[in-house]
Symmetry: C2
């Protein structure tokens, strides 16, 4: 599964499939959360990038879901959104 498939599953709204996918791919959940928060705060990728001390293209790359970010990177993004990153086992 890649992120495009994931988004499709989420957007089709099949709840079971959706849940299953989310369990498989927590990195996609954090992407969704970041995008949602950024939109909610009416920030552009460029603004988020500046606050996170990186570039717009890197934010876009992250949001596209086509790579495997590090914890440090996620923390930078979270901080730039005035949020705390939480990583847990369930």
């Amino acid at each position: 599964m890649n992120y495009k498939e994931y988004k499709k599953a989420v957007l089709t709204g099949n709840p079971e499939l959706c849940k299953e996918y989310k369990a498989l791919a927590p990195q996609y959940e954090i992407i969704e959360a970041v995008i949602a928060t950024r939109i909610e705060k009416q920030m552009t990728q460029a603004e988020l990038a500046e606050r996170a001390d990186t570039k717009q293209s890197n934010i876009s790359r992250f949001e596209s879901g086509n790579y495997n970010p590090s914890v440090e990177f996620l923390q930078k993004i979270a901080g730039a959104l005035d949020k705390q990153l939480e990583i847990t086992l369930r």
Copy 2:
């Protein structure tokens, strides 16, 4: 702050300092969670490594907290512990 300082703060048991440190360093929390779960399941680093398809030394390196793991790596570890990795914004 590095992980040794973090552990010291946690182990001294100063709750405020401890909380503050945890907020600063979610990656340390997941390390603690992994170690706790591994011990709880009475697994050695070598056993965990085998289940996670890696080597004991790499588990040790992760648990030592001296580097910056990727989401994918964390997922492998979580899976090997029969757990779900959760990454959220709070």
